[in-house]
């Protein structure tokens, strides 16, 4: 047993080193452009009829699974402890037992029949046709951000999807490029946005709140940074929000903002839309009310003037691979400041 001591020492050293790793990582300066933190988006903390149904089914399955797990592992452990190190002559030479085989075939089969029954019931509940007057929202996946269209309201936004509590939401999912996965764990299970198809899904939020979400289908370099949030508000607040979104922002005032708008229309309008102006690009997010949002760039930074400036200046340095080009060689620092001054007026 000479090797035991060095092994223990190496093992302990390994553990210490690894615990030190994240501590060292935390030593850096505070991260101003790190991804926006959402509250833990737990499947088991549901806030909609859909998520409540799947959480209920999960717990039902969990307890059956735990029962099976405990039974099998106990049998295994008992077998190991009861029959180890006995003289070989005591090993009973049996080849099988048909009654036992029937037993351990039929009991699991019965359990599965029960599980299947609950599965089908739950699927029917979740996919049941919507009752009442739904709100239609179309979510369009782009590399790497989500666009949200409200066709009945004439509103288009990005990164944050605002919905009323209590009213059924009927989602349509589309993609303009590759496959994306649409998922807000506390509100609904996944439905993919598949290029060339329109997928449908519905849910009703039961609790007001802000729910973290992100793309779940590997969609390229910045798949991890395709994040979004669903904000559920009481119906009244939702109406106010929608009315605000339907307004065209007033023309900018002040020298910087006016100049900013000129540069914006020249340089940015091919990709971005701002209501009430000639800017009508559909490649990037609709910016009509960009300053009313809490974060930008697919949920990777809070929407502050400073972050906006950095993003406009050189987006690929924060999100390598993004379609938004590096503007630092085209636009002067003054241009950037003016553009941000203009964007800040788009509330």
């Amino acid at each position: 047993m000479k090797i035991r001591r060095p092994l223990i020492i190496i093992a302990i050293a390994l553990f210490v080193l690894l615990v030190a790793l994240p501590v060292m990582a935390q030593q850096g300066e505070p991260c101003t452009t790190c991804p926006v933190s959402f509250d833990t988006p737990s499947v088991l903390d549901p806030a909609s009829d859909y998520a409540a149904e799947s959480a209920k089914l999960f717990w039902f399955v969990f307890w059956i699974a735990t029962g099976v797990f405990v039974l099998v592992e106990t049998l295994l452990i008992v077998a190991v402890f009861r029959f180890r190190n006995r003289p070989a002559s005591e090993a009973v030479q049996i080849h099988g037992n048909t009654k036992l085989e029937i037993l351990w075939t039929s009991i699991p089969a019965l359990i599965l029949v029960v599980l299947l029954g609950f599965t089908l019931r739950s699927m029917a509940v979740i996919r049941a046709p919507v009752k009442g007057e739904p709100l239609k929202v179309v979510a369009v996946g782009h590399q790497w951000w989500w666009e949200f269209q409200y066709p009945d309201l004439g509103v288009i936004t990005a990164n944050q999807m605002i919905v009323p509590v209590g009213q059924p939401i009927e989602m349509e999912l589309r993609s303009v490029d590759v496959q994306h996965g649409f998922w807000a764990p506390q509100l609904f299970g996944k439905m993919d946005a598949v290029p060339g198809r329109t997928n449908r899904m519905s849910f009703t939020v039961t609790e007001a709140g802000e729910y973290g979400a992100q793309c779940t289908q590997m969609c390229g370099e910045q798949h991890a940074q395709m994040r979004f949030q669903i904000i559920a508000t009481p119906a009244g607040e939702f109406q106010t929000w929608a009315a605000g979104q339907q307004q065209v922002p007033p023309p900018p005032e002040g020298e910087a903002a006016v100049r900013g708008q000129e540069i914006f229309l020249l340089r940015c309008s091919a990709c971005h839309t701002v209501g009430g102006t000639v800017a009508a690009g559909r490649v990037g997010p609709n910016l009509t009310h960009v300053s009313g949002r809490d974060f930008i760039a697919g949920g990777i930074m809070p929407r502050t003037d400073d972050n906006l400036r950095q993003w406009v200046q050189n987006a690929p340095s924060f999100k390598p691979g993004t379609l938004m080009p590096d503007f630092s060689i085209i636009l002067s620092p003054q241009d950037m400041t003016d553009i941000v001054a203009y964007l800040s007026t788009l509330k």
Binding site: T40, S42, L57, V72, R84, N85, I94, V178, T216
Partner: protein, 543 residues
């Protein structure tokens, strides 16, 4: 034979480099397979450590997003196509002829070709790292992300060619295993009384033969799309990206059974020997494999519950997926039945076999939970699935593979592995494995998607990820112990002799390592456990 002579049997056969390059001996090819795949296992393991280091805590910047995508893609591709599938073919190469009392495989030159195609595939795949970047669309490489519009450069082409070579190797191997077991069994050995590992290679080979053409077709179509302007997967051209998923999973779900059935075969050899009892319910274990094989072809779309199929389609695939738990359960109960009433010798090989059962049960149970569609809608593409698949492929297949290496290693090298180091390996491996993968189930439920290179702080994911990373390094350390053990034992391990474990099957009836022709005299057998027939006369009857 068990005397301390240092001239091991098998000496005298040519051992030079040329002999390895030109060999058609199934044992040498088997050894080439084992060393090559273990080398790829180390590469895939280093990729896993890179992934785990990047994810150890929120907002770490160990590697870039693009490199991360390359590394996790190569980890999955390597472990599946260059490690688990071919390492089991390696065991098959070495042991199927020995188990059935044959002198070689049916087509030795085809066998040689299988190995070199695999090596070529592995080299092509890994060469991409140096030639413009490795594949980065995940081991599933879903279209249209993997088409030329969204994956410029050649990385996906390397992936396609590497996999085509590996798939061809696997198909040729399957033909060889089938013909060998059907035509070359020694006198007295019935097809229905094959040693369980040989039987599992038969079943697996049938699966390989029928499923591999699908991925071959899918890869060719993708290659045409990328390089010759076809539009099979391109929406603007009138194609459909879901065709890729259907073709891909028609192979890649059966691939799970291709990776686990032979490992189940290995532990079905190990458990009886160290329990000193015949395999409990041989016929049930054997036919449950066939049942799994047949059902395995009708569950592929359970990987696609979120693409918007009609509920009827989801219902069919959910039902088929759940039914697979029944034959799997039969196996598990029969293995416990094999141990029950035995005289267990807890060698390292036996510990890994028991560990296989203990861990695979968890993977099986989470597998059933994933067949339950509303749960799948929630946890698909999250770390819950990553946890599940590693309990099946690492807790299952890799535990079986290590069990096989400790059990059959002495037959291959002529020397036993060190049991003290072996037990350290087992316990650290099991500890590290559970630290790494158990928490992933919880991470998935807490909303962490898979394949993300970073995550925000304050979402409650940090601590579980850190534990997982610590576990990954623990596994790496334990594997290091195994490698040290292997090479130290190769030089100075205890000489094994013909039959160090008191085995029941024919490979123990010849020397360790066996001579080039395997058996001096073609053996004649009666019943399932030929070497035990004398020890327990009159008990060979089975129902």
């Amino acid at each position: 034979m068990a005397t301390a002579s240092h001239t091991l049997p098998g000496a005298g056969a040519p051992t030079g480099l040329l002999s390895w390059l030109t060999t058609v001996d199934h044992k040498k090819i088997g050894i080439l397979y084992l060393y090559t795949t273990f080398f790829f296992f180390i590469i895939g393991g280093l990729e896993a450590l890179t992934v785990r280091t990047q994810l150890a805590w929120s907002n770490l910047k160990f590697i870039s997003a693009d490199l991360y995508n390359q590394v996790f893609t190569m980890h999955g591709t390597t472990m599946i196509f260059l490690v688990v599938v071919p390492i089991l073919a390696g065991f098959g190469n070495y042991f199927v002829p020995l188990l059935i009392g044959a002198r070689d495989m049916a087509f030795p030159k085809l066998n040689m070709l299988s190995y070199w195609l695999l090596l070529a595939g592995g080299i092509v795949l890994n060469a991409s790292f140096l030639l413009g970047g490795a594949p980065n669309a995940g081991w599933t490489s879903y279209a249209p992300l993997s088409t030329a519009v969204y994956s410029q450069g050649t990385s996906i082409d390397f992936w396609i060619i590497g996999l085509l070579l590996g798939g061809t190797s696997s198909t040729l191997g399957a033909i060889n295993f089938l013909v060998t077991t059907i035509t070359m069994r020694c006198p007295g050995m019935k097809m229905t009384e094959l040693p369980m590992f040989a039987w599992s290679m038969v079943v697996t080979s049938v699966m390989v033969l029928f499923s591999t053409p699908m991925i071959t077709v899918a890869l060719l179509l993708l290659f045409l799309d990328r390089n010759f302007g076809t539009v099979y997967f391109s929406v603007p051209g009138g194609g459909d990206p879901l065709i890729w998923q259907n073709l891909f999973w028609f192979y890649s779900h059966p691939a799970v059974y291709i990776m686990v059935l032979p490992a189940m075969g290995i532990i079905s050899e190990v458990l009886p020997v160290f329990s000193r009892k015949p395999l409990f319910g041989y016929q049930f274990i054997a036919w449950s494999s066939v049942f799994i094989m047949i059902l395995g072809f009708s569950v592929w779309a359970h990987h696609m519950f979120q693409v918007g199929s009609p509920l009827q389609v989801d219902t069919f695939f959910a039902t088929a997926s759940m039914i697979i738990a029944v034959p799997t359960g039969i196996k598990i109960f029969n293995w416990i039945g094999t141990m029950w009433g035995g005289a267990l010798k807890l060698t390292t090989a036996m510990l890994f076999a028991i560990g296989f059962i203990a861990m695979f049960v968890i993977g099986g149970i989470t597998g059933v939970s994933l067949a339950i569609v509303p749960i799948n809608w929630q946890v698909h593409d999250t770390y819950y699935v990553v946890g599940h698949l590693h309990y099946v492929l690492f807790g299952g297949s890799m535990f079986g593979i290590f069990s096989g290496l400790y059990y059959w290693g002495p037959k291959i090298t002529g020397r036993k592995l060190n049991e003290t180091l072996g037990k350290w390996h087992f316990w650290l491996h099991t500890l590290g494995f559970n630290l790494t993968f158990f928490g992933m189930h919880i991470l998935g439920l807490l909303g962490m998607p898979r394949r993300i290179y970073t995550y925000a702080s304050g979402q409650g994911w940090d601590v579980l990820n850190l534990i997982s990373t610590i576990g990954a390094f623990t596994i790496a350390f334990s594997v290091l112990l195994f490698i040290v053990n292997w090479f130290v034992s190769l030089r100075s391990g205890e000489v094994a002799g013909d039959d160090p474990w008191g085995g029941a099957t024919l490979e123990w009836a010849t020397s360790s390592p066996p001579p080039v022709h395997n058996f001096d005299k073609v053996p004649t057998v009666k019943g399932l456990n030929p070497l035990w027939a004398d020890a327990h006369p009159g008990e060979q009857s089975h129902y």
